[in-house]
């Protein structure tokens, strides 16, 4: 079987499992859907490696304790969490 066709079939099965009706098995299907949603998520995305502190005074106290300057990223909205920016 050509590789491309196999990939298409695997994807089709994946989508059927995640979004298709499950004939009375809905709570189970909901759990499955949540698992599929989690699979969309990337846990180790690079921008999450910097531990941004959203609190200015706490950050400055930490800077003093550690003898470092503070790097402030001033932005509209909230990328420090796992949000869109």
């Amino acid at each position: 079987m050509p590789r491309r066709m196999l990939a298409t079939m695997v994807t089709a099965c994946f989508l059927l499992l995640s979004f298709a009706p499950c004939n009375g098995q809905e709570p189970e299907a909901a759990a499955k859907l949540k698992q599929e949603i989690e699979r969309l998520r990337v846990s180790q995305v690079a921008w999450r490696h910097i531990p941004w502190n959203p609190c200015l005074s706490a950050g400055l106290h930490q800077a003093k304790e550690e003898g470092k300057p503070a790097l402030l990223w001033v932005f509209i909205d909230r990328p420090a969490d796992d949000a869109r920016c």
């Binding site: 990337v42 790097l71 932005f75 969490d81």
Partner: protein, 354 residues
């Protein structure tokens, strides 16, 4: 736009991540708080940062006394990001505290476009003790009682069904955390609670919050939540629910949505557009007449053109305020899980509530 561009082009580079973690204390501040300092014991600190800023958004280095050493908006090229960090560290060695006047250096582009230094105004700033339980940090907002805390993830999908691996760019991989208002959650529960048998149509207003956030790209390309002059069009938002057999608390949701915007989007150029068409499936769970959880998956197509007329810069770090151009025409998938738990949204503002 700036935040997304900076996150992607600056703060995702391994050498920058390493340097920031080793030599700095990273703090993320909302521009709104800097531009309108909060009425709290941190006000003077925010005012000091605002006093020298070249633009409402940027990257700033301060010493632990809260005195600004450097501001930068963009960089000449990738190498200059690390040179800027080294330059800031060298200035920190000269001005580690407020024992002498600290002039703030300001760059539109580092190092080629420098603005005049902002002289120290002589104020000695009090850095207040970190917030305790009775004095919440102004940067942290609480979800209103009864609101739903929603987390979205979205991916571009390739022609053979594979998820895009370009996860640094929000036009291929998006995450978002938003809240659904108590009113919407309450109305949804009211419509569903006690329903038996046949599917019921649900008003668009109840699923608009979910549809509005399901898009790829930065905030400036939001189809119907756009910060620019055009608020876009909700072409379709048809959702229905039917109770699940054998369950008195679970409803199956199906829906179709379509949203669109054009070159009236924020920071858009002539010919820019955004169109998202999705099929939705999911579940709503109720308990004691209240929504406890909503789980939604969506699959469809997305067309996004952004910055079409913009001249290409040599490097993404050299035009951070406007971000990179986008030309996406792709199948897409989204997932949203919204829960009623009343948690705090870290580093957030309540202003993103739908």
């Amino acid at each position: 736009m700036f935040a997304g561009a900076a996150r992607e082009a600056v703060f995702s580079k391994p050498e920058v991540i390493r340097k920031v973690k080793e030599a700095f204390v990273p703090i993320s501040l909302k521009a709104g708080k800097v531009n309108r300092p909060p009425d709290s014991n941190e006000r003077a600190l925010y005012e000091e940062i605002r006093r020298s800023r070249p633009l409402p958004q940027g990257i700033c280095v301060v010493n632990p006394a809260g005195k600004v050493l450097e501001w930068v908006v963009s960089f000449d090229n990738d190498q200059e990001v690390l040179r800027f960090l080294d330059h800031a560290l060298a200035r920190y060695e000269l001005f580690p505290d407020a024992s002498q006047p600290v002039p703030a250096e300001r760059y539109m582009h580092f190092p080629s476009r420098k603005l005049e230094d902002m002289p120290d105004d002589g104020r000695v700033l009090d850095v207040p003790a970190p917030h305790g339980p009775g004095a919440p940090c102004p940067a942290v907002a609480k979800l209103p009682v009864g609101a739903l805390d929603a987390r979205l993830v979205g991916r571009a999908v390739g022609p053979e069904g594979q998820l895009s691996d370009q996860v640094l760019s929000q036009d291929h991989y998006a995450e978002e955390r938003f809240s659904v208002s108590p009113q919407v959650a309450k109305e949804l529960a009211k419509r569903l609670d006690g329903q038996q048998g046949l599917p019921i149509e649900l008003p668009a207003v109840l699923f608009r919050p979910f549809v509005a956030h399901a898009f790829l790209g930065v905030l400036d390309v939001a189809p119907i939540l756009n910060p620019g002059p055009s608020k876009g069009e909700l072409i379709r938002c048809d959702f229905s629910a039917r109770p699940v057999k054998g369950s008195d608390h679970c409803w199956r949701i199906t829906g179709k949505s379509e949203v669109s915007n054009g070159d009236g989007m924020s920071n858009a150029t002539l010919g820019d557009m955004h169109h998202v068409k999705l099929d939705w499936e999911g579940f709503v769970f109720l308990q004691n007449g209240r929504v406890t959880e909503i789980v939604l998956g969506a699959d469809g197509r997305e067309r996004l053109k952004f910055g079409t007329e913009r001249k290409l810069a040599k490097s993404d770090v050299s035009y951070l305020p406007s971000g990179h151009t986008i030309d996406l025409n792709s199948r897409v998938r989204y997932g949203i899980v919204a829960q009623a738990n009343g948690e705090t949204l870290p580093g957030s503002s309540a202003g993103r509530q739908e």
